[in-house]
Amino acid sequence: MADVKDVVIDVAGLQSLIDLLRGDGWTVRGPMVLDGVVGQGEIRSVDDLPRGVGDEQDAAHYRLRDRGDDALFGYVVGPQSAKSVLFPASELLRRVRTGTGSAVQPEPPAKPEPLALFGVRSCDLEAMGIQDTVLLSRSAVDVHYATRRAATFIVAVTCSDPGGTCFCVSMGSGPDPREGFDLALTEMLDDDGHRFLVRAGSDRGAQVVERLPSMSVTAGDRAAAASVVESAVGRMGRYLDTDGIRDLLYDNAEHPQWDDVASRCLACTNCTLVCPTCFCTSVEDTTDLATNTDERWRVWDSCFTSEFSHLGGGSVRATTKSRYRQWATHKLAAWWDQFGSSGCVGCGRCVTWCPAAIDITAEVAAIRATSLSDAVPSQPED
């Protein structure tokens, strides 16, 4: 990568960045207030961003609040992640016109819209890397994910105001974006003005930086940016002890805590919907007699449904207990054996969006406190 120095831009510079990306043919998609949450939509102007908006997050709790300042990124993640666009809930795999003879020619997949993902948090960046491993690096490449991924430009943002359910520090995935982005911004709002430190993380990111109206970075800027990160690290809402977690969960499959969770869990699948790394899907084949068309769709699925583990005689995981255990054990333990990393990035969405206020960090801590495992003996919290 060309040795491009970091720069600082002001809010007008941020608008220039948006204009530049749009001019290059990218559709800029970023955070905006929609339906009472920080959702995702097309960004044409800095005015589209959630200026002065903050969020309060806790188990089964999400509220927006007025920060009383002009910060454009003063909140953390809403319910959606990059998964919504890179790995959409329904993806057409093929469409076939029947009655045209024995040769079945699928229509080629549509070319993806070039998307600049604006304001990606480091936890979601980490999640994209994890989905890359799952969907691109193994023997079967998901061609649709690969195509969409190749058509994205990433502008990441450092978190300055972590939410009550954030635990990226526990998972080693934030709050500062480290790699996998084209550009990374750190917002600073202090006596020296409202400005952004811009780092390039790729060649094409560097090319964009060179075209931005920018200022050089002062020592004061560096210190301010560092203190944003330091402050964020110290304000995590949750903590997950990941020491020996794989063996802890493998060895505690019969721990009574699973029954306890099951008495609260509704198996509503919210957690798997909002989780940025959940990748389970189903395949649906449909026939439309009116148009003589057969379609094969890939759709999101969830291990919390009763049909997920259906076999000839019934479902292997018939109880909510077994499904919650499957999800947590897969996410935090089996993922290591399968993909060489944790499946959890500590974004906190599953805690915030669970209607039963189930907190995965609390469940694991409860198991750890009274572990049945010889390999990972019980460690009651102090």
């Binding site: 076999l311 000839g312 005689g313 019934g314």
Partner: protein
């Protein structure tokens, strides 16, 4: 021509009995042969014998209205057959038919019960063997009841 003691000594069922015990039991036993197709006993007949199969195969059967005689279990060389001598009313519950030409050692039930009464240690050792075989058959029968090859469980 080997004695019954020697024949029994070869059988895994009696492996845990010492020679004296074996000699006592052998006193209750005679060698028999059954031609292929012959019945060793029939459902409902008085049952006061214990069988040990030396060679061949015996099929346990029951009679059905439209299916004729259905085979429920087969037993091969080295296996034992017949518990009805242990507990009253001493009646067979199934037919037993020699599938092939079969050599069997037949033990008189009353004789065996007498020997066990006289020598409880012998009785206990014999019952332990019997219990082991019964347990294995019971477990196997339970698994068969699951009808695993039928509609998937």
């Amino acid at each position: 021509m080997r004695s019954i003691d020697q024949l029994l000594r070869e059988q895994p069922f009696f492996a845990s009995l010492d020679d004296d015990a074996l000699a006592l039991i052998a006193g209750c036993a005679v060698n028999r042969h059954a031609r292929a197709g012959a019945y060793l006993f029939r459902d409902g007949e008085p049952a006061d014998t214990f069988f040990l199969i030396r060679h061949g195969r015996v099929a346990l059967e029951t009679h059905t209205p439209t299916g004729g005689s259905v085979v429920i279990e087969t037993l091969d060389a080295g296996e034992v057959l017949g518990w009805s001598w242990i507990v009253p009313p001493y009646r067979w519950q199934f037919d037993a038919r020699a599938v092939d030409d079969t050599s069997i050692v037949v033990f008189d039930g009353a004789c065996l019960r007498g020997k066990c009464d006289d020598d409880p240690r012998l009785g206990y050792a014999l019952m332990q063997q019997v219990a082991q075989v019964m347990l294995a058959r019971l477990q196997a029968t339970r698994v068969r009841l699951l009808d695993l090859y039928g509609v998937p469980l």
